[in-house]
Assembly symmetry: C2
Homo-oligomer: 237 residues x 2
């Protein structure tokens, strides 16, 4: 099937940002040259990071319902613009007939092998899950230890503020985290939570290269669809 | 069912803008307080305005496929952030078990009865279809005749530019149309095409009250869902 599936709502603003990136990355001069997309924006799924930390209810049953929903809608590929949910990537992927793209693999592929020292900005759950560290190790890319407590507190603040609709407050928190990462010797930062790029519009980079996991997943999604000609005019619902 | 359905892709940027408005209008401090939404972003539907003008193929079969798709996905209400497609509102509404909101009715409800002289900025198809004029007449609101040719040429330019991803060029075109509407005695402008609010970020209002059809449809959608408690935590996919 020639349809992109987006499993969103985690969070809702990040999903809007991801959809905007899909549209911006698609070369098109009129509606009919764009890509067909079905978005399942299901914000009520229990907090992923808290569950990984053993503090909240298990989101896996609802994650699998979302995957099933998109497969029943006939999508040919699934993108999930939520990093923490990738803790359950294998289970979601196994339950899906449609290929599920992996946000961290797309993101780490955008880094220069061997030449960068990376800070991973993500939820505590994503960091404990360890999938970014695994991807970076596999590519031989150096990264900062994640237990830089003051830095993580600012990242937590930023994510919570964006989820509450306070993007400019989130920008100030992100700014503090970036300054701290720079002081710890980072040359690049993975924005490994899809709320962070929204805050980044209100922050300065402090000379760090910012790698946006949402943008890299959007690139992978658009490439997947364009390679298969899903923007062709003869497409039918 | 406690799901909002958005029939989008007409155009894709306007759909992103509409989704952003849904998120912004929902009072929420965390993901789980937001509203569940399914978006069918089907950009390949034939040009609605051209079809109304007798210049292109009939979009109705694909419009009905979109409505059926969302009903099969289990949505409880449908919003269509494309004004021109409302030429076929009756047919879509009859084919849908879920209530279909009407963008022009939501938009005209935001105007002050009797106190405003309104310019309708829309595609030529929407103007020929006449549903905005009917809604305004029913509410006793005065509006400009729509065949102000130089004004319409600027509106056409604006819509085409936004659909091609050139929002700031669209802003300059919208600016020309707003100045002309002011010269013709308008006190308010209905942005009766969902591309126009995107251009409006790059234009000045020239003292006119701008009524955004996309924002008014988003308000109606969020109110519909909140009144029914679709943001309640116990919601299940």
């Amino acid at each position: 099937m020639s349809l992109i599936g987006v499993f969103g709502g985690m969070g809702p603003s990040a999903t809007v940002d991801f959809m905007d990136k899909l549209v911006q990355l698609t070369p098109a001069s009129r509606d009919q040259e764009h890509l067909p997309v079905v978005v399942a924006n299901f914000p009520h799924i229990p907090d992923r990071s808290r569950a990984i930390l053993g503090q909240g209810s298990d989101p896996l049953p609802q994650l699998l319902k979302g995957i099933t929903f998109l497969n029943e809608a006939g999508v040919g590929v699934i993108a999930i613009p939520c990093n923490s949910s990738h803790h359950w990537y294998e289970q979601m992927s196994r339950a899906s007939a449609a290929h599920v793209l992996h946000i961290a693999r797309s993101c780490v592929a955008a880094l220069q092998e061997g030449s960068e020292r990376v800070a991973i900005f993500a939820t505590r759950g994503t960091l404990v899950s360890g999938f970014y560290q695994r991807e970076l190790r596999a590519r031989g890319i150096d990264f900062l230890a994640h237990d830089v407590q003051a830095l993580q507190a600012s990242v937590d603040d930023c994510i919570r503020e964006v989820k509450a609709g306070k993007a400019s407050a989130g920008g100030a928190s992100l700014d503090r985290a970036l300054r701290r990462a720079r002081e710890h010797g980072a040359t690049a930062v993975i924005m490994g939570c899809t709320e962070l790029p929204i805050a980044a519009r209100h922050a300065t980079s402090h000379g760090l290269r910012l790698v946006d996991s949402s943008l890299e997943l959007a690139r992978a999604t658009v490439n997947y669809a364009l390679e298969r000609g899903w923007n062709r005019p003869g497409w039918e619902v």
